[in-house]
Each structure stands twice: as structure tokens, then as C-alpha cells.
């Protein structure tokens, strides 16, 4: 006997705990099965690209902090690289190492939050999230030590970083690097083979390899689908070619693969950090750059880094004044959402939380 059903439309969000800020799904459902999806955003749109045109280059660094606020350091890095390209500034060795140390710490912190929220979304409630925040807190304390901020660090400058590392920093970092692998093993044991997590994640929300590339997916979403692509290796920037690390990839592109890629990337970041700390040279941390940056008129650049969510790029065009003529962000969180419809079709409402959580987005970057 077939049941006669009628499709209906339901909104999830904007203020739903699983929508990570303000994001709305307009779902068409047949019973519990998703038959159509329309993602709706813009609730957090601050017109950042327009604001940036009215401020000078240096004053735009804090704006980048407020994009993906879980990876402010990496945003700083990408934007500073773009302006350094325009100005032809050479960053001192020590500053490059400090930048890598901050970026990798930030990647770990972001992935911890990403995994924690993902598990929270699929109903593990608070326990794993609090575990992840235990370690994230230690990283935040390190950031607090170098720049006096716990969020929105505004630490990097054109030509280096704003301050050298304080004396207590390296011992604290070394202590954390000693603890982190143990913590990751703990998560592995707690979650990766947990029967409920497996049922909720394995085979769910598959993003096929070809579609992932075609839709410009990036970061763990792309690598989860089996594409070995990481800008740190494939388009080395800063000093990443000096470090040994692997690029973890998934096989099927399901929710579980994206989780595993993130977990493995934490291990790889610890590897990079250990090498960076052992090679850290003495010297200057800020090149001489004039206070008022004026790149040559007509110059433009696109600088991209591998953020925790994927390729984060800054397109900056100059007209020779102290304000950028055009300031555009290639935001991985926004572009990773392009295929959310295909990933959700045919799944149930409860799976939506798992699939959406596994993409790991930050609305501040989606809307800008």
C-alpha cells in the first residue's frame, strides 16, 4: 500500500542552534525526506567590501579578523600577503615562522571548534564540544599572550607581525604540543569508532569528487571527497615548502570523511608546529614599511592561503591612493555552500544537521 503524501515547505533557521549564527534553509519536505533546498543568507551582511574601500590598507586588517572569526590569524595572513604582493615587501624570516606558528595553531583551534559543533549538531550534546574547547582555550591563551586578544587578534602587519613573541610563549607552546597528540587520540577513541557517530555520518551527504571540484569546494570539504589539494603544498606560500606534512584525504566524500580529514589535519598541524618551533630563527619581526601604504596605481593582486575552511583569497586592486580601490574576499565558507542542495536532497531533516555541520561554516564569512 502506498501512502498518499503532500509536499510542504518548512524553514530551518535563521536562529536555529545548528545554523551556526544566522542562516536559513527553506526546505521542501515529503514526510521527513528533503525534496528541495534553498539556502538563504544575508542576515549578517555588513557590507565589509564596501567599508574597506573607505578605509586605508592598514585599517582593513581588523576587518579581516571579523570575517571567519574562528580563524582570524589566517585571515590576517592572507590579507597581509596580498598587500605585500602589491608593495613588493619582503617579510623577515622570524616573522614568517611566527606567522606559520600562529596560522597552524589557529587551524587546530578552528578544527576543534568545527568538530565540536559538528558533534553537537548530531546530538552528542555538550560533552565532546567541551572537550574540544578545553584545548581551544589553551590556544586562545597563547594568542592572548602574543597580542592581548582572545578573538579578533589583529596581530599581523604588512611586513611581519606587530610584536615579537613574549618570553613565556615558547615554553607554553611546547607544553601544548606535547599534550595535543594525546588529546587527538582521545577524540579518536571517543568518536571515530563510536557506533552512533558512525551511523549518523558514514555514507551520509556524499559529495562526489567531480562535483566537489566543479563547485569550487575547498579545504576539508574538497579533500574529504578524495581530492589531494592543499595550497600549502600545491601553491606554497610563506615558508610552507620547508615543512614536512601529509595531506589527509577521504575516500567517499561523506560526512564521516570530512570529520576524519579535520581530525587528521590537527595531527599534521602539530607536526608543522614542532618543525617551526625547532627552526625558529632570531631576528627582526617587522620589515620597514611606511605607515601609510600606497600601492602603485593600477596594480592588483590575488593572494590565497589554505584556511581551515579552504582557499581564502583576497583580491585587492589599487588606484594609488591610501584606500584600496576594490577589496574582494574569496570566502571558502560561502562557496562551500554552493552544493548544499545536492548534498541534502533525499536525506532526512535529522541528517541535515549532520551534513551541514560537517561543512563547517562561519556565517561571518558567508555574509561578509
Amino acid at each position: 500500500m502506498t501512502l498518499k503524501t503532500e509536499q510542504y515547505v518548512i524553514n530551518i533557521g535563521p536562529q536555529h542552534p545548528s545554523t551556526h549564527g544566522v542562516f536559513r534553509f527553506r526546505l521542501t519536505l515529503d514526510g521527513e525526506v528533503i525534496t528541495d533546498v534553498e539556502p538563504i543568507f544575508g542576515y549578517l551582511h555588513r557590507g565589509m567590501e564596501k567599508i574597506a574601500e573607505g578605509r586605508n590598507y592598514t585599517k582593513n586588517i581588523p576587518l579581516t579578523d571579523r570575517l571567519d572569526y574562528l580563524s582570524s590569524m589566517i585571515n590576517n595572513h592572507a590579507y597581509c600577503m596580498a598587500v605585500e604582493n602589491l608593495m613588493g615587501v619582503k617579510v623577515p624570516e622570524r616573522a614568517e615562522y611566527i606567522r606559520v606558528i600562529m596560522s597552524e595553531l589557529q587551524r587546530i583551534a578552528s578544527h576543534l571548534a568545527g568538530i565540536g559543533f559538528f558533534l553537537n549538531d548530531i546530538g552528542a550534546f555538550m560533552t565532546p564540544l567541551l572537550y574540544m574547547f578545553r584545548e581551544r582555550e589553551k590556544i586562545v591563551e597563547l594568542f592572548d599572550m602574543v597580542c592581548g586578544q582572545r578573538l579578533n587578534y589583529n596581530y599581523m602587519r604588512f611586513g611581519g607581525v606587530s610584536m615579537d613573541l613574549p618570553r613565556d610563549f615558547l615554553p607554553a607552546l611546547n607544553k601544548l604540543l606535547g599534550q595535543l597528540p594525546g588529546y587527538v587520540d582521545e577524540y579518536d577513541k571517543l568518536i571515530s569508532t563510536n557506533e552512533i557517530a558512525l551511523v549518523r555520518a558514514k555514507g551520509v551527504g556524499i559529495l562526489p569528487r567531480e562535483l566537489a571540484i566543479n563547485a569550487s569546494a575547498a579545504g576539508p570539504v574538497l579533500r574529504g571527497s578524495g581530492v589531494r589539494w592543499d595550497l600549502r603544498k600545491d601553491q606554497p606560500y610563506s615558508i610552507y615548502e620547508r615543512f614536512e606534512f601529509d595531506i589527509p584525504t577521504g575516500e567517499t566524500g561523506d560526512t564521516y570523511d570530512r570529520y576524519i580529514v579535520r581530525l587528521e589535519e590537527i595531527r599534521q598541524s602539530v607536526r608543522i608546529l614542532k618543525q617551526a618551533v625547532s627552526q625558529l630563527p632570531e631576528g627582526e619581526t617587522l620589515a620597514k614599511v611606511s605607515k601609510l601604504v600606497r600601492p602603485p596605481a593600477g596594480s592588483e593582486t590575488y593572494a590565497a592561503v589554505e584556511g581551515p575552511k579552504g582557499e581564502l583569497g583576497f583580491f585587492v586592486a589599487s588606484d594609488g591612493t591610501e584606500n584600496p580601490y576594490r577589496w574582494h574576499v574569496r570566502a571558502p565558507s560561502l562557496i562551500n555552500l554552493t552544493v548544499i542542495r545536492e548534498m541534502l536532497l533525499g536525506w532526512k531533516v535529522a541528517d541535515l544537521m549532520a551534513i551541514f555541520g560537517s561543512i563547517d561554516i562561519v556565517m561571518g564569512e558567508v555574509d561578509r
Binding site: 557590507g47 567590501e49 601553491q235 590575488y302 583569497g313 583580491f315
Partner: protein, 149 residues
């Protein structure tokens, strides 16, 4: 990763699509808007170029005209290419959509439509993405005046 040189690429495009489809010097590759969709498909499917990954699309308002800049990467060949298209019509600017070539263009074209008012013909769902329907004007245009400020 290397950036492809513009002149050899432009020669290949001219071979295929004829004079006037593209112009290049050592700094930039300008694609004529009428050929944009065909050239995009060619750039993606040509085995030597195989630019299968669209990094970013950016719209720029130059006051007299608009420029739309496309950043592409080939994941297999590990090279990059940047090309651009100029639009002289400020009143009804429109470009062919490349969504059918790279799905990743979907939200980015909607973003440019929303904030700069450039229409992308052939886009499957071209409507405002960040601002609400009926928002007056296009904020990223240089002549846009913020009435609240």
C-alpha cells in the same frame, strides 16, 4: 604552481574562436564578452589547459566601465590563469553566466549581481543573495550613495 602566460593562451583561443574574441599583453588577458561562455568551456575542456577549478570571480567598477575578473586553477596540471572581461554598458550590464561550466560560479555571480548590478544571462537562479529583494541600488558601484550615512 605557475601562472600561465597570457599571450600563448590567447593565440590558442584566437585559433579556435577567431580574431577579436580575445586580446592579450603580458599583463592581462581580455576576453570579449560575447565569446565568454564558449571560451570558458574551452579553457576547462582543452586537455592542455584543463582549468577545471574556478577560484574566484570579482567585479570591479571602473566608473566608466565594469571589469569582471576570473581566477582559474588546473588541479591536474597545477597552473593558474586569470582572465577578465570588460563591460561598457553601465545601464544594463550583462554577461553570459559560466555556471554551466563551473558550478562554483553560482553564488559568486549572484553576489556580483546583488552588489554591483551586473546581470548574468543563463544563470539558473539569479536573484539577490545578501540584500533583500527591492533594496535600492547596488552598493559596490562607485556612484552609490549611502542615504543613511
Amino acid at each position: 604552481m605557475k601562472n600561465l602566460d597570457f599571450i600563448p593562451v590567447s593565440r590558442r583561443i584566437i585559433e579556435r574562436f577567431g580574431e577579436g574574441s580575445v586580446a592579450a599583453d603580458d599583463k592581462r588577458l581580455m576576453v570579449h564578452r560575447e565569446h565568454l561562455a564558449d571560451i570558458a568551456l574551452f579553457l576547462k575542456e582543452d586537455p592542455d589547459l584543463s582549468l577545471d577549478y574556478l577560484n574566484s570571480i570579482t567585479g570591479i567598477d571602473h566608473k566608466t566601465h565594469f571589469t569582471v575578473v576570473y581566477h582559474l586553477t588546473s588541479l591536474a596540471k597545477k597552473h593558474r590563469l586569470t582572465f577578465r572581461t570588460d563591460l561598457d554598458d553601465r545601464n544594463t550590464p550583462s554577461l553570459p553566466s559560466v555556471t554551466s561550466v563551473w558550478r562554483g560560479a553560482d553564488f559568486q555571480e549572484r553576489e556580483i549581481f546583488d552588489l554591483m548590478g551586473i546581470e548574468f544571462t543563463g544563470h539558473p537562479n539569479l536573484k539577490r543573495i545578501f540584500l533583500w529583494e527591492g533594496f535600492p541600488g547596488y552598493p559596490l558601484r562607485k556612484d552609490w550613495v549611502n542615504r543613511d550615512a
